[in-house]
Subunit: 201 residues, 2 copies
């Protein structure tokens, strides 16, 4: 008899493998770590998974995740509701909020257009974005999808939809990251940084 | 109002952070990944955690994890029960079994002696090892704890306990890993490889 397969352990490792970026070895390491949890902690972990799924919804307005019907940002009177920043996912909202530079509201697409993966525009929250623009209260839309092939294509697609509506549409700038080294910047980034140069003094 | 804290998401990320080697960013990435699970998958994940904790026990003989009272290796008549290989954790058993070179049985310590972390010998499964040696059926104990400071200290500690019992005690060899390059081997490993040299031809 060879080393035995411990089915509950394999099953737990399989679930960990479904998480973004978790390989076979890490999944097994996490499964072993759970075995070392107290019974209370294991119960709390299981409960946290179920709670996250049942208590978190999409904001009816911006489609960001929230535990309410309308998220805190959309409900806030301190935010400028005439400027919408369009992002791919909730993590981008968190990243931009950390800069404390943006005072508008957001719209979360939950993905990018990617025909090769079967993600057509109707699978994203684009219809919901157009709905928000209907009452003419929004004057500017900033397209802040990631600077990837899919992110750029999605920004272009949405820009083409919005231009006829007479709304100002902008795209976040590409350039050399602050604190970075030109030597390590890729050519495309560097070219964009040169193109986007601005006068000093 | 700043970006809102979504309590169920934070709670789930906190649980992921308790796993070995999971940092803040990865924990949040995993929590988001769970949000994208179907309800059925999330329920299966929660159930797998609880099942792993309730269905997996320690083998009464070797202290390895198993779903039975006695693990498959200890229950097997094809294994040589007179040779015990002592390891730190269940993963070491899996690693050695993969080599298909060892026909004996194991003993899992579940840790190493580490006074700085408060892990004294009585916290390990050393008492259970001594119990197995009482009936004189075991003739050799191979100490296969990891070649770390704690692993070496634990091996030395157990060796001192076993030598008076007249049992053959050995330690796995240190040396240059097969397929490795001498240039990248650390000095201690290289010194051990030289010391452990064996005659050819």
């Amino acid at each position: 008899m060879a080393s035995e397969i411990i089915e509950p352990l394999e099953r737990l490792a399989d679930m960990f493998r479904r998480l973004d970026g978790v390989g076979k070895k890490s999944a097994m390491r996490y499964a072993y770590a759970v075995l070392n949890f107290s019974n209370e902690d294991a119960a709390a972990f299981a409960e946290a998974i179920l709670a996250a799924k049942t208590e978190i919804h999409l904001c009816e307005e911006c489609q960001n995740i929230t535990t309410d019907h309308i998220c805190g940002l959309c409900a806030s009177e301190k935010r400028d509701h005439s400027v919408i920043c369009v992002v791919e996912d909730p993590r981008a909202v968190t990243a931009i909020e950390k800069t404390k530079q943006f005072g508008g509201v957001y719209h979360v697409l939950h993905g990018t257009v990617s025909p090769s993966k079967g993600i057509t525009p109707d699978k994203l929250k684009i219809r919901e974005l157009l709905e928000r623009l209907k009452d003419d209260s929004v004057t500017e839309v900033i397209l802040a999808t990631n600077p990837t092939v899919e992110g750029e294509a999605t920004a272009m697609y949405i820009a083409r939809l919005l231009t006829p509506l007479g709304i100002m549409v902008s795209r976040i700038a590409n350039g050399v990251p602050v604190g970075g080294d030109l030597e390590y910047a890729d050519e495309v980034t560097l070219r964009r940084a040169m193109e986007g140069r601005y006068p000093l003094g």
